[in-house]
Subunit: 428 residues, 2 copies
């Protein structure tokens, strides 16, 4: 590219009608001339050849992605992670803000992903390492999406549960349990105080525990638990499946009494979530398989915050995400940002319930609550409830007892004096 070619991929914010653009933040490791490399980066993700041969035209003004601003973070002695065939030359770590015209693809999630984290992003000459850090949408673009149908308030209203976290539990053993035993265990956990008993994200419609049979037994057990406790309960059925089966899976599960549905958003694809959002009668709750494969490293891939925003856009009413602490190998700040993206203003989209998880139990509730900083979250132990030495009912009770202790401002250890279930967890 010559100097004038390069200039066509830079713009000032006030030169553009910003409602026509998404804003993208990228971390880049640039090899060689920075400005030229950034121009290539914009060109590759939009109009790579901006005129026909022999025709006086320029598609950059309407269709070109454009650098709004950039800064060099540091000069690096080598790439942060080695990349085969990477270009050689001076390396600069940069942060860049790009305006990307959404008319290039429209309000469609697969096409949006193709534009902002597709071939152009990862195959620009001179940019061996790149991470998409953030994405922002103008309200006019957000208005083309339905977003969550229920949101936090909808889930709270279903349960009549206010001013406290929502208590989930993943039924364990997660794989191999016969539906009748699965239902019995879930029932016990509801009696002990769980709001939501859920399928593991790996357990879906399988020969030895079909959605038809499992949801029928769980639907009945849920009604019985509601009768026994006087509280509303949710059975969260995992309908992750091939996309052409998901609507049918929804219909079977909901008819049988599942009153929320789990979807592994990335494996089925974000637009499959959106498809289901148009059809669903119950809240949709997302789980996070596969996301870590492209988000764990600091300087390559896609930031989880981007995926949280896209999941909310697709219509998830709650998002289960890697939580705090060593177990989930995610920086605390990143967990906080993901929680915020569920709750922040986002056009007229409803708020999504954040559910930060990872090896939780009665013993971790206080820490999670303090790190979240509000009651607007879901808490999702598995073995912390279903591996409780006194059984699942006691496991669920221990969680509710821990919450009571927090509400009353009493140390767990003191509060446990009158609560054998909590005591057993402390002694474990």
């Amino acid at each position: 590219m010559n100097a004038e070619d390069i200039n066509g991929f830079f713009a000032e914010r006030d030169q553009l009608s910003m409602s026509d653009y998404l804003e993208l933040e990228y971390y880049l490791e640039c090899v060689g001339d920075i400005r030229e490399t950034l121009a290539h980066f914009c060109s590759e993700q939009s109009t790579a050849q901006w005129s026909r041969v022999g025709v006086d035209e320029d598609f950059r003004e309407l269709y070109g992605a454009k650098v709004l601003s950039w800064e060099v973070l540091e000069e690096l002695p080598e790439l942060s992670y080695p990349v085969e065939h990477a270009a050689t030359g001076k390396i600069h770590a940069c942060r860049v803000t790009i305006a990307h015209p959404h008319g290039n693809f429209g309000p469609k999630l697969p096409n949006l992903m193709t534009a902002v984290c597709g071939e152009g992003t990862y195959f620009t000459p001179g940019i061996p390492l790149v991470k998409l850090l953030d994405i922002s949408f103008p309200d006019s673009y957000l208005a083309r999406f339905e977003g969550p149908k229920f949101g936090i308030e909808g889930i709270r209203d279903m349960l009549g549960a206010y001013n406290r976290p929502i208590f989930f539990g993943v039924v364990k053993p997660n794989i191999g349990l016969q539906p009748v035993h699965f239902a019995e265990i879930a029932y016990q956990s509801w009696l002990g105080g769980l709001d939501i008993a859920k399928d593991d994200e790996m357990l879906a419609d399988v020969a030895w525990s079909t959605t038809e049979v499992r949801s029928k037994l769980l639907g009945k057990a849920r009604l019985e638990a509601e009768k026994q406790t006087g509280d509303k309960k949710i059975y969260l059925a995992n309908i992750t499946d091939e996309v052409d089966k998901m609507v049918e899976q929804h219909d079977i599960a909901v008819a049988n009494g599942a009153n929320a549905l789990l979807i592994n958003a990335l494996p089925v694809g974000l637009s499959a979530v959106r498809m289901l959002r148009k059809h669903t009668k119950v809240p949709l709750i997302g789980h996070f398989p596969f996301i870590a494969a492209f988000s764990r490293l600091e300087k390559y891939g896609v930031h989880t915050k981007v995926i949280t925003k896209l999941q909310r856009l697709a219509g998830l009413d709650a998002i289960i995400m890697p939580g705090f602490g060593n177990r989930m190998m995610t920086p605390d700040q990143e967990v906080r940002e993901n929680i915020e993206e569920c709750l922040n203003g986002m056009g007229s989209l409803k708020r999504t319930l954040p559910v930060p998880g990872g090896s939780d139990s009665a013993l971790t509730l206080d820490t999670v609550f303090r790190k979240v900083g509000s009651v607007d979250f879901g808490f999702v132990p598995g073995r912390g409830i279903f591996g409780h030495p006194m059984g699942p009912k006691a496991g669920a009770s221990s969680i509710r007892q821990a919450w009571k202790a927090i509400e009353k401002g009493i140390p767990l250890d003191s509060y446990a004096e009158t609560c054998p279930e909590l005591r057993a967890m402390l002694d474990k």
Copy 2:
């Protein structure tokens, strides 16, 4: 876990009915005791809690993933890439082969992904870095998939093109061109000798170039080009869209004369490809956006070979993939492996046409051909045809001239003496 707990996640191949298992190869960086960490790794991706509290049962035999073999590659002074909250202790780089019971999820691509590259894989304590390197399926599992409907032979028969590569071209300018101009340029490229003129992977159904309008014009232009040249031609329309629109997009495009369809497999989700495979009347060709986000680094994520196999399983008749050379930042060996996975025996699945791409032109054809080692590949320039100084017809001609030179064993430079189109590329 105690020693006996750990043993439950190890097995010898001849103890297992291997037709019930997938085989998975992982690269791992293990912190701490290797055997215990590997047991956790299997447990996390299968039955994390293998019995109910107080019940004498063990789900590991039927439902547990099991280590078949493992080797330590080296002891490392530190993790290859830093990971926040990673465990501390001795670090060993390992390669492990795992038998994973496919009955845990069945013949469903989203559920398969959840099991083999989901939460369990990336959130095992003591394994901050992991890459899924390979996946193998027993024939009984493969038999549950339809695979490519046309395959290489089907595409060759459509075109009447044998004993040579298939010549694709990505119409450029890729974004912004009015359909009437797009059709004119594609028409010229067919006259020049292209087999397949294609939409860019970023160009789908947009307000300024709808599938309806574009495919109608391209369908007509294709028939006219077939009449003029006496050869069969393909217009490859990109129907990447939200999953609930793709069948309709197929129907519109095919009715208007598109006779192959492009799908961005990861953004729509692999099961959306499979859904379309059941419905399609024409070959389905996959493009690779998003795959680099989790596959570029040597020691983290998922290897492209796994994705190539899954794309073939989902039913793609051709797979466009990052090709050879510096531009695509992919090791040559990896490109070769991906090509092989399109062609290798895989149950009774048809062979898929590999299309290794990246800034190709008449000048790179010989190198690509030699590196592929056979004529069974697609060649897919963009600007190398549509940015040709004499225009798209000349651009396409230059490719066919380069192939003639290769067939005759004549150096490009000599052959170009009678071929001004090829000459122009050499002079560029």
